[in-house]
Symmetry: C2
């Protein structure tokens, strides 16, 4: 995957990404100096800035000369919202690491992590009140945040459910992951004064790459090596069944082997987990996951191609394709 962490490598929006980074740095202020440092480290280290890049690129497709302060603030706000989710996800997963560095929660404890995620939510809304054009834009953003959380909660409600449908999985992924991609693309288009159909295409592009992005994440978790992958282990231990496992459960033979193992729920041993991973790997579910992801990527590109053809559109096209081939 292309690394947005080095904005200077991306001449089209490199300067703007530096400005985004600067806005984020400026906004993260608290009466708690150590926390502020930790948040700033998080903002500077390893963030791929995919979501702000989508805001900037989508705006640029539709208005090649766009370079407003409002656009930079919109791009920053979505990264801040994403950071807030990451911090709260870490509280839940007890993750010791985040973006290569020690996570906020393992460094300062759960309490600081909960509040600092909350603080980022408020910084998000504060920025929103500055770049938002009207009541509609506030509502779109507030509702996007709500869809993200409903996706997270939907995923939790489905924990340990071997009968979970693909539709349910898709609805949750659509909420927890695709919403921010869709918001990013839609806000970029809106700020570039796009027309309704263009905004619709931008959002739909975002939704579809968001879904394929999550599916490929799920795929990568299951695909590499013979040893137990940490994300797979964490998911199985908490009863989160991602796409490869759900697809394997739809096949008679693998399902017959998987069900008695999954029935152990929180009592799964490492050996059980390795076993589950191997069953999924040999079931053909990984190929199916990749095919599904490709389908969503194709849908995203179809929408993209309804927007004006120009070098920026070409760049997004390439980034989208490269997503499909990351770590392969």
């Amino acid at each position: 995957m292309i690394n947005f962490n080095a904005p200077s490598q991306y001449p089209l929006i490199g300067k703007q990404l530096v400005q985004v980074n600067h806005v984020i740095d400026q906004r993260i202020k608290t009466h708690f100096p150590q926390l502020q440092n930790a948040l700033q480290e998080m903002a500077n280290n390893g963030g791929k800035y995919i979501r702000p890049a989508i805001v900037l690129l989508m705006a640029r497709i539709l208005d090649s000369r766009i370079n407003s302060e409002r656009l930079i603030k919109a791009a920053s706000s979505i990264e801040i919202l994403h950071m807030a989710s990451l911090i709260h996800d870490d509280v839940i997963d007890d993750s010791p690491k985040r973006r290569g560095a020690v996570s906020i929660q393992s460094r300062f404890g759960k309490d600081v992590a909960v509040y600092s995620g909350d603080l980022l939510f408020t910084i998000f809304f504060d920025l929103l009140t500055e770049f938002g054009t009207d009541r509609d834009s506030f509502q779109r953003n507030a509702r996007a945040m709500r869809r993200v959380l409903n996706g997270e909660l939907g995923q939790m409600a489905a924990r340990f459910d071997v009968h979970q449908t693909l539709m349910n999985y898709l609805r949750n992924v659509n909420g927890k992951t695709a919403t921010l991609f869709s918001l990013a693309a839609g806000e970029g288009a809106t700020l570039a004064d796009a027309d309704r159909h263009q905004i619709f295409c931008a959002r739909s592009f975002g939704t579809n790459i968001g879904i394929s992005f999550q599916m490929l994440d799920d795929l990568l978790d299951y695909s590499s090596g013979q040893n137990l992958n940490k994300p797979v282990m964490e998911d199985l231990a908490t009863g989160v069944y991602s796409l490869p496992l759900l697809l394997a459960l739809r096949k008679t033979d693998p399902a017959a082997k998987l069900r008695p193992l999954l029935a152990k729920k929180r009592q799964l041993t490492s050996t059980d987990m390795v076993h589950i991973q191997q069953i999924v790997q040999t079931s053909g579910a990984l190929d199916e996951t990749e095919q599904l992801a490709t389908k969503f990527t194709k849908k995203a590109l179809d929408r993209l191609h309804e927007l004006p053809a120009n070098p920026t559109r070409h760049l997004i096209h390439e980034l989208t394709i490269s997503m499909l081939h990351r770590n392969h």
Copy 2:
């Protein structure tokens, strides 16, 4: 303290409080039925609805016939914001109980509690986009939420600090507690089309009763009985030094006894804590706390009396006085 949980007892705003309760009930929707039930229980059981009542009463002082949907939504939004804070506070305190019922986090776990607090934040903002009149109102609300969190973080930064100044304590209390009272009073006045000075008085009233409310909470924690009070124990265990303890630390003799005990930090035993509580009780700090709280209450009433004299103002006056005498 007068119980807003039985709105029918308050003829002036009883019907409106029922509407507030209805709005909250309607808005708490998730893809997680059990969580929804728990949130609805929380909304219906034992909430004193002090903050919505302040919104409604303050609006009514300034416009005795006010009864708009926007006002109900504003009142509901502040209670939802308060509920969100309570849920996240419980995650941090590991509280098993909340409002007499089992807390969200002890019933569903930390993960659900973190996300459901987040969900309430988004419901707050969603409501805000409906009743907010302009960019200013969005900013006021977004910034209020931020001040609440900065207060919480400030309190954390001061943990185990025996040199914490009263100014620092006040700044944190102003953020974490008084902000919502000030927001409630200010939004009520704004929605009643009050003039600038009236809005200023309303906010200042809110800030001052908020501070005295918190001081009296701190006082009640320390004052009752010979046995160790649970809130005192929780505060000492986490290094949160509230007003009675800070005032005792300013007195030569009690401070000399307290410092070596407090130096044990997280290693304090129950016996140590009982000892600390007794030193505070006999130091004269409780009287001083009450005097300070009375000072802030008086300031609040002075501001209140700059607003039009009418039965609603009389009612708020009485509620404010009754706050000073709760549980005494």
